[in-house]
Protein backbone atom coordinates (compact mmCIF):
# COMPACT_ATOMS: atom_id res chain seq x y z
CA UNK A 1 0.00 0.00 0.00
CA UNK A 2 1.38 3.40 -0.93
CA UNK A 3 1.02 6.22 1.57
CA UNK A 4 1.95 9.78 0.77
CA UNK A 5 3.13 12.01 3.60
CA UNK A 6 3.04 15.70 2.74
CA UNK A 7 5.15 17.98 4.88
CA UNK A 8 4.68 21.75 4.75
CA UNK A 9 6.22 24.57 6.76
CA UNK A 10 3.83 25.76 9.45
CA UNK A 11 1.78 28.83 8.71
CA UNK A 12 3.74 31.78 9.90
CA UNK A 13 7.14 30.23 9.19
CA UNK A 14 8.75 32.23 6.44
CA UNK A 15 9.24 30.19 3.27
CA UNK A 16 12.06 31.86 1.32
CA UNK A 17 12.01 29.17 -1.33
CA UNK A 18 8.31 29.73 -1.94
CA UNK A 19 8.93 33.47 -2.13
CA UNK A 20 11.71 32.97 -4.66
CA UNK A 21 9.54 30.75 -6.83
CA UNK A 22 6.68 33.23 -6.61
CA UNK A 23 9.00 35.95 -7.79
CA UNK A 24 10.38 33.83 -10.62
CA UNK A 25 6.85 32.98 -11.80
CA UNK A 26 5.99 36.66 -11.93
CA UNK A 27 9.12 37.34 -13.95
CA UNK A 28 7.98 34.61 -16.34
CA UNK A 29 4.74 36.56 -16.69
CA UNK A 30 2.45 34.26 -14.74
CA UNK A 31 0.57 37.23 -13.33
CA UNK A 32 -2.24 35.18 -11.82
CA UNK A 33 -0.09 33.62 -9.15
CA UNK A 34 -0.39 34.80 -5.59
CA UNK A 35 1.12 33.10 -2.60
CA UNK A 36 3.45 30.13 -3.27
CA UNK A 37 4.42 27.61 -0.58
CA UNK A 38 6.82 24.75 -1.03
CA UNK A 39 6.82 21.46 0.79
CA UNK A 40 7.97 17.91 0.57
CA UNK A 41 6.19 14.65 -0.22
CA UNK A 42 7.45 11.31 0.95
CA UNK A 43 5.87 8.31 -0.76
CA UNK A 44 6.11 5.23 1.41
CA UNK A 45 5.49 1.70 0.27
CA UNK A 46 4.05 0.07 3.41
CA UNK A 47 3.56 -3.68 3.74
CA UNK A 48 0.10 -3.42 5.24
CA UNK A 49 -3.31 -4.21 3.83
CA UNK A 50 -5.46 -2.12 6.15
CA UNK A 51 -5.48 1.54 5.08
CA UNK A 52 -6.19 2.82 8.58
CA UNK A 53 -3.26 0.91 10.00
CA UNK A 54 -1.02 2.10 7.18
CA UNK A 55 -1.92 5.71 8.00
CA UNK A 56 -1.19 5.15 11.69
CA UNK A 57 2.25 3.88 10.80
CA UNK A 58 2.90 6.72 8.39
CA UNK A 59 1.93 9.20 11.07
CA UNK A 60 4.40 7.59 13.44
CA UNK A 61 7.16 7.82 10.87
CA UNK A 62 6.32 11.43 10.22
CA UNK A 63 6.52 12.29 13.91
CA UNK A 64 9.70 10.31 14.39
CA UNK A 65 11.61 11.48 11.34
CA UNK A 66 9.83 12.78 8.27
CA UNK A 67 8.66 16.09 9.72
CA UNK A 68 10.26 18.48 12.19
CA UNK A 69 7.31 19.49 14.29
CA UNK A 70 9.10 22.62 15.48
CA UNK A 71 8.61 24.16 12.05
CA UNK A 72 6.55 21.75 9.98
CA UNK A 73 3.07 20.21 9.76
CA UNK A 74 2.30 16.99 7.96
CA UNK A 75 -0.58 14.96 6.58
CA UNK A 76 -0.70 11.34 5.44
CA UNK A 77 -3.05 9.78 2.88
CA UNK A 78 -3.28 6.46 1.12
CA UNK A 79 -2.66 6.92 -2.59
CA UNK A 80 -2.74 3.35 -3.93
Amino acid sequence: MKVRVTVMLKDGVLDPQGKAVEHALHVLDFKNVGDVRIGRVIDLEIAESDPARAIVQANEMARALLANLVIEDFAAEVVE
Binding site: V13, P16, Q17, A64, L65, N68, V70, I71
Partner: protein, 233 residues
Protein backbone atom coordinates in the same frame (compact mmCIF):
# COMPACT_ATOMS: atom_id res chain seq x y z
CA UNK B 1 40.93 17.63 28.35
CA UNK B 2 39.42 14.39 27.13
CA UNK B 3 37.49 15.25 23.98
CA UNK B 4 35.54 12.97 21.68
CA UNK B 5 34.37 13.73 18.17
CA UNK B 6 31.30 11.91 16.90
CA UNK B 7 31.51 10.73 13.29
CA UNK B 8 28.31 10.10 11.35
CA UNK B 9 28.15 8.85 7.77
CA UNK B 10 28.75 12.01 5.75
CA UNK B 11 30.49 13.97 8.51
CA UNK B 12 33.35 15.82 6.86
CA UNK B 13 34.84 18.32 9.28
CA UNK B 14 35.91 15.84 11.93
CA UNK B 15 39.53 16.13 10.85
CA UNK B 16 39.46 19.93 11.07
CA UNK B 17 38.01 19.66 14.57
CA UNK B 18 40.59 17.07 15.59
CA UNK B 19 43.41 19.32 14.41
CA UNK B 20 42.03 22.27 16.37
CA UNK B 21 41.57 20.23 19.55
CA UNK B 22 44.97 18.61 19.24
CA UNK B 23 46.59 22.01 18.78
CA UNK B 24 45.35 23.15 22.19
CA UNK B 25 45.42 19.90 24.16
CA UNK B 26 48.44 18.24 22.62
CA UNK B 27 46.56 14.96 22.35
CA UNK B 28 44.42 13.59 19.58
CA UNK B 29 40.72 13.48 20.48
CA UNK B 30 38.81 10.21 20.43
CA UNK B 31 36.82 9.53 17.29
CA UNK B 32 33.43 8.04 18.15
CA UNK B 33 31.56 6.08 15.50
CA UNK B 34 27.83 6.80 15.26
CA UNK B 35 26.99 3.16 15.85
CA UNK B 36 28.56 3.08 19.31
CA UNK B 37 26.01 3.05 22.12
CA UNK B 38 28.25 4.16 24.97
CA UNK B 39 30.56 7.14 25.28
CA UNK B 40 34.02 6.71 26.76
CA UNK B 41 34.97 8.87 29.75
CA UNK B 42 35.00 12.39 28.27
CA UNK B 43 35.05 16.03 29.30
CA UNK B 44 33.72 17.26 25.96
CA UNK B 45 31.68 15.74 23.16
CA UNK B 46 31.88 17.46 19.79
CA UNK B 47 29.39 17.02 16.95
CA UNK B 48 31.38 18.32 13.98
CA UNK B 49 30.35 19.75 10.63
CA UNK B 50 29.58 17.98 7.43
CA UNK B 51 26.64 16.50 5.60
CA UNK B 52 25.51 13.65 7.83
CA UNK B 53 23.32 11.39 5.69
CA UNK B 54 23.90 13.76 2.79
CA UNK B 55 21.75 16.42 4.50
CA UNK B 56 18.89 14.58 2.86
CA UNK B 57 15.35 15.13 4.16
CA UNK B 58 16.48 17.84 6.64
CA UNK B 59 19.99 18.64 7.79
CA UNK B 60 20.77 16.63 10.89
CA UNK B 61 17.42 14.81 10.97
CA UNK B 62 18.73 11.32 10.43
CA UNK B 63 21.84 11.74 12.56
CA UNK B 64 19.61 12.82 15.45
CA UNK B 65 18.37 9.22 15.53
CA UNK B 66 21.76 7.53 15.29
CA UNK B 67 22.54 4.77 17.80
CA UNK B 68 25.03 6.99 19.67
CA UNK B 69 22.43 9.68 20.41
CA UNK B 70 20.88 8.15 23.53
CA UNK B 71 24.35 8.07 25.09
CA UNK B 72 24.87 11.70 24.14
CA UNK B 73 21.52 12.56 25.69
CA UNK B 74 22.57 10.85 28.92
CA UNK B 75 25.88 12.71 28.82
CA UNK B 76 23.95 15.98 28.49
CA UNK B 77 21.60 15.08 31.34
CA UNK B 78 24.60 14.38 33.53
CA UNK B 79 25.81 17.90 32.87
CA UNK B 80 28.39 17.09 30.22
CA UNK B 81 29.73 19.71 27.82
CA UNK B 82 28.73 19.38 24.16
CA UNK B 83 29.82 21.53 21.25
CA UNK B 84 27.89 21.26 17.97
CA UNK B 85 29.30 23.09 14.98
CA UNK B 86 27.40 23.57 11.72
CA UNK B 87 25.89 20.16 10.98
CA UNK B 88 26.51 19.41 14.66
CA UNK B 89 24.31 22.38 15.61
CA UNK B 90 21.64 21.15 13.19
CA UNK B 91 21.80 17.70 14.78
CA UNK B 92 21.46 19.16 18.29
CA UNK B 93 18.31 21.05 17.27
CA UNK B 94 16.84 18.02 15.49
CA UNK B 95 17.54 15.99 18.63
CA UNK B 96 15.91 18.79 20.64
CA UNK B 97 18.94 19.17 22.83
CA UNK B 98 18.80 22.78 21.68
CA UNK B 99 15.65 24.70 20.73
CA UNK B 100 14.70 26.06 17.31
CA UNK B 101 15.61 24.93 13.83
CA UNK B 102 17.92 25.84 10.96
CA UNK B 103 16.27 26.59 7.63
CA UNK B 104 17.71 27.18 4.18
CA UNK B 105 19.79 30.36 4.00
CA UNK B 106 17.59 33.30 3.04
CA UNK B 107 19.54 33.65 -0.21
CA UNK B 108 18.80 29.98 -0.96
CA UNK B 109 22.50 29.57 -1.69
CA UNK B 110 25.32 27.79 0.05
CA UNK B 111 27.54 30.44 1.64
CA UNK B 112 31.24 29.92 2.14
CA UNK B 113 32.85 33.09 3.41
CA UNK B 114 34.28 34.76 6.47
CA UNK B 115 31.84 36.25 8.93
CA UNK B 116 32.21 38.17 12.20
CA UNK B 117 30.72 36.93 15.44
CA UNK B 118 30.01 38.92 18.57
CA UNK B 119 30.43 37.08 21.86
CA UNK B 120 27.26 37.65 23.87
CA UNK B 121 28.53 36.46 27.26
CA UNK B 122 31.86 35.24 28.51
CA UNK B 123 30.93 33.34 31.66
CA UNK B 124 30.65 29.98 29.92
CA UNK B 125 33.16 27.23 29.22
CA UNK B 126 32.93 28.03 25.53
CA UNK B 127 33.44 31.77 25.65
CA UNK B 128 35.58 32.47 28.72
CA UNK B 129 38.67 33.45 26.72
CA UNK B 130 36.83 36.33 25.11
CA UNK B 131 35.47 39.46 26.65
CA UNK B 132 31.76 40.15 26.44
CA UNK B 133 31.01 41.78 23.04
CA UNK B 134 34.39 40.84 21.61
CA UNK B 135 34.13 40.36 17.85
CA UNK B 136 36.04 37.62 16.08
CA UNK B 137 36.35 36.46 12.49
CA UNK B 138 35.52 32.92 11.46
CA UNK B 139 34.76 31.03 8.26
CA UNK B 140 31.24 29.81 7.63
CA UNK B 141 30.23 27.22 5.06
CA UNK B 142 26.64 26.08 5.00
CA UNK B 143 23.42 26.03 3.04
CA UNK B 144 21.05 25.78 6.00
CA UNK B 145 22.06 28.17 8.75
CA UNK B 146 19.00 30.36 8.99
CA UNK B 147 18.10 30.11 12.68
CA UNK B 148 14.43 30.16 13.48
CA UNK B 149 12.32 29.55 16.58
CA UNK B 150 8.87 30.55 17.68
CA UNK B 151 8.42 33.88 19.45
CA UNK B 152 8.19 32.34 22.87
CA UNK B 153 11.44 30.43 22.41
CA UNK B 154 13.22 33.49 21.11
CA UNK B 155 12.01 35.51 24.07
CA UNK B 156 13.27 32.82 26.39
CA UNK B 157 16.66 32.61 24.67
CA UNK B 158 17.07 36.36 24.78
CA UNK B 159 15.71 36.74 28.30
CA UNK B 160 17.83 33.97 29.75
CA UNK B 161 20.98 35.09 27.96
CA UNK B 162 21.21 31.92 25.95
CA UNK B 163 22.38 33.54 22.73
CA UNK B 164 26.05 32.66 22.43
CA UNK B 165 27.09 34.45 19.24
CA UNK B 166 25.55 36.86 16.75
CA UNK B 167 26.56 37.81 13.23
CA UNK B 168 27.77 41.40 13.25
CA UNK B 169 29.94 43.87 11.35
CA UNK B 170 33.69 43.80 12.09
CA UNK B 171 33.12 46.75 14.44
CA UNK B 172 30.41 44.91 16.36
CA UNK B 173 27.43 46.65 14.78
CA UNK B 174 24.34 44.46 14.79
CA UNK B 175 21.70 44.67 12.07
CA UNK B 176 19.76 41.46 11.52
CA UNK B 177 18.02 42.93 8.48
CA UNK B 178 21.30 43.58 6.64
CA UNK B 179 22.24 40.52 4.56
CA UNK B 180 25.85 41.60 4.38
CA UNK B 181 26.04 41.37 8.18
CA UNK B 182 23.57 38.57 8.83
CA UNK B 183 24.27 36.49 5.73
CA UNK B 184 21.88 33.58 6.25
CA UNK B 185 18.94 35.59 7.55
CA UNK B 186 18.87 34.21 11.09
CA UNK B 187 16.38 35.61 13.59
CA UNK B 188 18.11 38.20 15.71
CA UNK B 189 21.30 37.45 13.74
CA UNK B 190 21.74 34.43 16.00
CA UNK B 191 24.80 32.38 15.07
CA UNK B 192 24.98 30.19 18.16
CA UNK B 193 23.00 29.36 21.28
CA UNK B 194 23.40 27.63 24.65
CA UNK B 195 21.34 25.06 26.47
CA UNK B 196 19.66 26.09 29.70
CA UNK B 197 22.65 24.96 31.79
CA UNK B 198 25.06 26.69 29.39
CA UNK B 199 26.91 23.41 28.84
CA UNK B 200 25.68 22.67 25.34
CA UNK B 201 26.65 25.13 22.65
CA UNK B 202 25.54 24.97 19.01
CA UNK B 203 26.90 27.33 16.38
CA UNK B 204 26.93 27.49 12.59
CA UNK B 205 30.38 28.98 11.70
CA UNK B 206 33.66 27.10 11.93
CA UNK B 207 36.09 28.46 14.54
CA UNK B 208 38.01 25.18 14.15
CA UNK B 209 39.08 26.29 10.68
CA UNK B 210 40.81 29.40 11.99
CA UNK B 211 43.28 28.23 14.63
CA UNK B 212 46.51 28.49 12.64
CA UNK B 213 48.18 31.65 11.32
CA UNK B 214 49.06 29.73 8.18
CA UNK B 215 45.39 29.28 7.35
CA UNK B 216 44.73 32.97 7.87
CA UNK B 217 44.61 33.50 11.62
CA UNK B 218 43.95 32.17 15.10
CA UNK B 219 40.70 34.01 15.68
CA UNK B 220 38.82 30.82 16.50
CA UNK B 221 41.33 29.53 18.99
CA UNK B 222 40.00 31.13 22.20
CA UNK B 223 36.99 28.82 22.02
CA UNK B 224 39.27 25.81 22.34
CA UNK B 225 41.77 27.20 24.83
CA UNK B 226 38.84 28.35 26.96
CA UNK B 227 37.33 24.88 26.94
CA UNK B 228 40.61 23.33 27.98
CA UNK B 229 40.95 25.73 30.88
CA UNK B 230 37.35 25.28 31.98
CA UNK B 231 37.20 21.52 31.69
CA UNK B 232 40.63 20.60 32.94
CA UNK B 233 40.46 23.26 35.65
Amino acid sequence: MKAGIVVFPGTNRERDMAIALRSVTGVAPRMIWHREIELPDLDLVVLPGGFSYGDYLRCGAMAAHAPIMPAIRRFAQAGGHILGVCNGFQILTEAQLLPGALLRNASLRFLSQDCFLRVERNDTAFTRHWKRHDVFRTPMAHGDGNYIADQETVRMLEGDGRVAFRYVAPDGRLDAADVTLNPNGSMGAIAGIFSENLRICGMMPHPEDLVDPLMGGEDGKPLFTGLVEALVG
